[in-house]
Subunit: 455 residues, 2 copies
């Protein structure tokens, strides 16, 4: 246990394995929502726990979605209202994945707080609530609303519909929406005004009804793995260039003015390389790297389902294998166009193979890239005032689909003001938030709310 | 439960999840050895449970190996002695892999007995013991020894050493060694006089110390999966031809005389295709298919460890991925030569990629192909007498390294006389033995022992 109350709170939250992708852990996501509800009530907030429709699993079964929290703290119509968004679910984590500490036991080492969700997103949400608590000792300077969900890591199932339904009620008096799910690029606070979008693809190849013994069947069969490996090898070249025809056509050309923006950002490439054990980046300069990550698409191959993936050796010819990869989208790439380009390309390449096996290319619904106008008053103002320093103005590599959706539905001013560090390893092993970011981030939210009252 | 005693015995054996590849199931393999010991003692056999050295796991931990059974039933020096070999461990199986029935509950459907190990190899060992029991009602016509191990599916760890140690004691009075771990090609009994060997390879590529988020890192990194997919795609072409230079050089050329052997074998290609849901074989005729499987090498890609392999979507860049594939060897391919050819080739291909990532190619110890002289008296004799029919003379696609080893160390006459069917799906989902093979196979073993007494 931690003597310092706000650290102990984070420990209590991290302890709950609220993995949204695993239906067997759904009750833990729900428990996590209840814990957040309790915390907000203790701040004097009124909380509505909104039930969503059931989730339909791939096997046809239905399962409850965790409730969404819509909360409201104080109400003075003369003051502006800010709505914070965050999520209580986390990516899966097991110590066997290569963690140095138990992923669900928050552990402090060398100024860092290690644990799944410490940064993404439990630590960030808690920092907001802690900032509110601190300001309440005197008086909360603005009206605060809070929206917390439990399905962000699997695409915020059900949330889009809810935002539409509550647009003229819950959101009607909201002036600013602040998404607390983003990271800084250095020790300076960063404001994220754009994110990439994503399309996630599944290529399934089937060569048999059941797995076969490679001794008995090796050599006499068109093996599904061969076809899949061939297809996955046609997606990017060794320089990272995506080989799918037309995929770069919609990318907005770089202007000199935009180029200048990247020069002012602090970002320590060596620190990141050391943290993740990288030999080198593809990009030689900080600016090139930030541009590749912010304003150009990329394609990553994540893995294969259905093949042998356990330790050791197994002499199997897998019957049905599904390759998984995703394309990160940038303005003005449209998910529907990218889906067609990728699907057509894979089907064409498969035809070239002349294989008797069957292919099925599917994709998720996809999410659009999001980009705010950097000249918007709200962003400019905060840019100069926040935290006593100029904030870095960031376009994130990852995707926060809910930001796009908030903007399209509510037409409010949206920003991402998170407090993650540049090397937090969210989604990876040894996820952490630094004590510095957690404490200074809490102060940042307090300063932000104070400043907002003076707008 | 089955009314028929010998089926109930098989059910009891299948019920034990004796998976040798999983250290956490090791106690179940040991339980299985104890159950077999009990069965042999009930036949009046004397049983030695031989402890082997400890097994060292990849993580450095040590774990007990299951004991090996060396058993002895009756002793009349005037009679010949036959030693049966079999194994009590099984490949992993889970109903989620796509089984129609619970893999560890023997279930009869349409004349087949479904369950993991029903054919490979519990059913075959039990048929031998049942045949002995039946003959004992009168008198066992020959001396019988039995060797059962529990680590066959992971390379018979420790057994080679034991065979050498006991060569001048346990094996000194053995005239014939019969391996009961092989399958027929039709409804006719088959005698296997050759098997392929194998080299199993692991190609590890590492691009980072920990997994990365593909949003934040996609595009700026040489991803390990890209390098691995590239390498795996250089192994075979779309016709199944292995692309590793020199790999076919040691393959014994086909003679007209050998070619004729394949023409007499009964093998129903359509039945196999229907059973496994195959669209087509690479080979157009039965003879071509049997030759590809018996006397030519093949290469199969089994899967990737370290990448995302679960259902659903995960936006991860895996830090370290290990591709697994194996090459089936035929006379006169030497494992040590193949290892060098494959390793050199992969390292050369990787150099072409100009990747900053690290590569490590490793392989298991490998096993040689095995081929008996088909003109040996013992084989010829049985060929004409067994089961009242001409047996099919088979060279198996899979590998039975212990057959090679028995031959090299003991210099005894070796044969594989199994009773599996042509479509038993050993190592796959819905493994089964047919009631026909199990019952007629038991009779075959009884007939074989009777005939052996008259040699």
């Amino acid at each position: 246990t931690f003597n310092f109350l706000i650290l102990q709170r984070l420990k209590d939250w991290v302890a709950i394995e609220s993995v949204s992708t695993d239906p067997e852990k759904r009750h833990l996501v729900i428990n996590m929502m209840l814990l957040a509800e309790e915390r907000i009530r203790k701040l004097g907030g009124t909380v509505e726990m909104v039930d969503l429709d059931m989730q339909e699993l791939p096997n046809g079964n239905k399962i409850s979605l965790p409730p969404v929290i819509l909360a409201n703290i104080v109400k003075d119509p003369k003051k502006p209202t800010v709505c914070f968004y965050g999520h209580m679910d986390v990516q899966p984590a097991k110590i066997e994945d290569g963690w140095s500490t138990e992923p669900y036991i928050l552990t402090e080492k060398n100024g860092n707080l290690y644990g799944r969700g410490a940064s993404d997103d439990k630590g960030q949400v808690l920092a907001v609530l802690n900032a509110i608590e601190a300001l309440q000792k005197h008086e909360l300077p603005v009206n605060v609303k809070i929206l917390l969900e439990g399905m962000e890591e699997v695409g915020s199932i059900g949330l889009n519909t809810l935002v539409k339904q509550r647009n003229s009620t819950f959101f009607s008096d909201v002036d600013y929406i602040v998404v607390t799910d983003s990271a800084w690029l250095s020790n300076k606070p960063g404001i994220t005004y754009g994110t990439r979008g994503i399309c996630y693809f599944f290529v399934e190849i089937e060569c048999a009804k059941r797995d076969l013994h490679s001794g008995s069947f090796g050599g006499i069969l068109h093996e599904a793995m061969n076809d899949l490996i061939f297809l996955l090898n046609t997606l990017v070249d060794s320089s990272g260039h995506i080989l799918i025809p037309g995929i770069y056509e919609a990318v907005v050309p770089l202007t000199e003015k935009e180029k200048k923006l990247y020069e002012g950002i602090e970002y320590d490439l060596d620190q990141i390389m050391a943290k993740y054990g990288l030999e080198e980046f593809r990009n030689k300069t900080k600016e090139e790297l930030l541009m590749q990550r912010s304003r150009y698409p990329s394609l990553s191959i994540h893995g294969i389902e259905g093949a042998f993936s356990a330790p050791g050796a197994k002499t199997v010819i897998p019957a049905k294998v599904t390759g998984k990869f995703s394309v990160m989208l940038v303005p003005n790439m449209e998910p529907s166009v990218v889906k067609k380009q990728v699907t057509d390309y894979l089907n064409k390449k498969f035809t070239e193979l002349n294989s008797p096996n069957s292919i099925k290319v599917t994709s998720d619904t996809g999410s659009k890239p999001w980009l705010s106008d950097i000249n918007e008053t709200h962003l400019c103002y905060l840019h100069s005032l926040v935290f006593g320093k100029d904030a870095d103005m960031i376009r994130a590599g990852g995707t926060i689909p809910i930001a796009t959706h908030f903007q399209e539905v509510t037409r409010k001013s949206i920003m991402l003001l998170g407090i993650g560090g540049p090397d937090d390893a969210s989604h990876g092993q040894d996820e952490k938030i630094s004590r510095y970011n957690f404490i200074e981030g809490t102060k940042l939210y307090a300063a932000f709310l104070q400043e907002l009252a003076t707008v």
